[in-house]
Amino acid sequence: MQEVDNIFVAAHELKSPLSLLRQLALSMEIDDQISLKRTQSRMVEVSERALRQVNDLTKVSRLEDGLFELEPVSIRAVCNEVTNELRYLYRANHRDIFEKYTNHSKLVIANRELLYSVIYNFCSNAMHYSDAGTRARIFVRDRKGKVEIQVRDYGPALPTKIWKDLNHGWLREPTSVAMRPGSSGLGLYIASKFSRYMHGEVSAVRHRDGTSFTLILPVSTQTSLFGE
């Protein structure tokens, strides 16, 4: 039954970008040359968002097979890669993102692909749910033998139900109610699954003016090889 519910939520979540793509395609009939370009880039943006979600869902189904190896991963490199990919989208949406690193431990134990997905998910959420003109922030710091990656956004706070579930350990299922606009919490559920696979902890803090999502990962002892 749970599986059926999850499929339903996933289908519902994918329906949004598909409906939007259809609508954008229909709107091209009344576009002039300038707005055609804009519509086209919107379509690319929406389809990339949907494709990423499909890819992440595929990865969730492969988690149980243990196909993702855990290894030392440079946290800074992954965060840089995510922000570089998202920065143009942030700017196109009149938002910005900046990074701050105070961590001395450079390597964490993770799977690079899954870690990328988790941070991308947090940052992408931060873009969608931040108010225009604000700057989301990635803050990476040491935390007692672990590394904490925090993504802070400035928009609507996370609903209390999701916040409670998440802070009890992890999200066991996507919610059937909207987590934040246009979202069933599927992205957060996926991030939660990936983090658990990597022995990480996910949590969230509600602020009056937004939300911080945090991922804590174990430090790799191989860090010492780099003279730290």
Binding site: S16, S19, L24, L26, S27, E29, R42, A178, R180, P181
Partner: protein, 122 residues
């Protein structure tokens, strides 16, 4: 020019509404119910396009608020959603039509605007 409210949390969808209604009416897009509620008493629309799943208070909260005041209770509301809803259950909220997001075409929006923004005594 008549005023239409669009309550839609998706920025792109909000832009599309503006595009579809260009030249027909003045359009104000709100991404959440609170900001629409705080403006509606000062600047009353002739028609409202309402998404249900919004940031914070949802579309039903907005409907309850609108219908509870005499000066806004009669404003026709068109729900635009991906949820399965029936107009019969929402008649008391002055919901005149429910459009499914995955089925609607630009003319649906235009035609409804023309229908409800036309002077009735003409």
């Amino acid at each position: 020019m008549a005023l239409v409210y669009v309550l839609e949390d998706d920025e792109i969808m909000g832009e599309l509404f503006k595009k579809y209604l260009r030249g027909l009416c003045k359009v104000k897009v709100f991404q959440d119910a609170i900001s629409a509620i705080s403006e509606i008493s000062d600047d009353k629309p002739s028609l409202i396009f309402l998404d249900i799943l919004l940031t914070g208070p949802d579309g039903f909260t907005f409907l309850n608020e609108v219908v509870s005041y005499e000066d806004t209770a009669k404003i026709p509301v068109v729900i635009v959603t991906s949820l399965d809803l029936k107009t019969d259950n929402l008649k008391n909220y002055n919901v005149v039509k429910i459009l499914k997001k995955d089925e609607l075409v630009p003319d649906d929006i235009k035609n409804l605007a023309c229908e409800f923004l036309e002077p009735k005594n003409a």
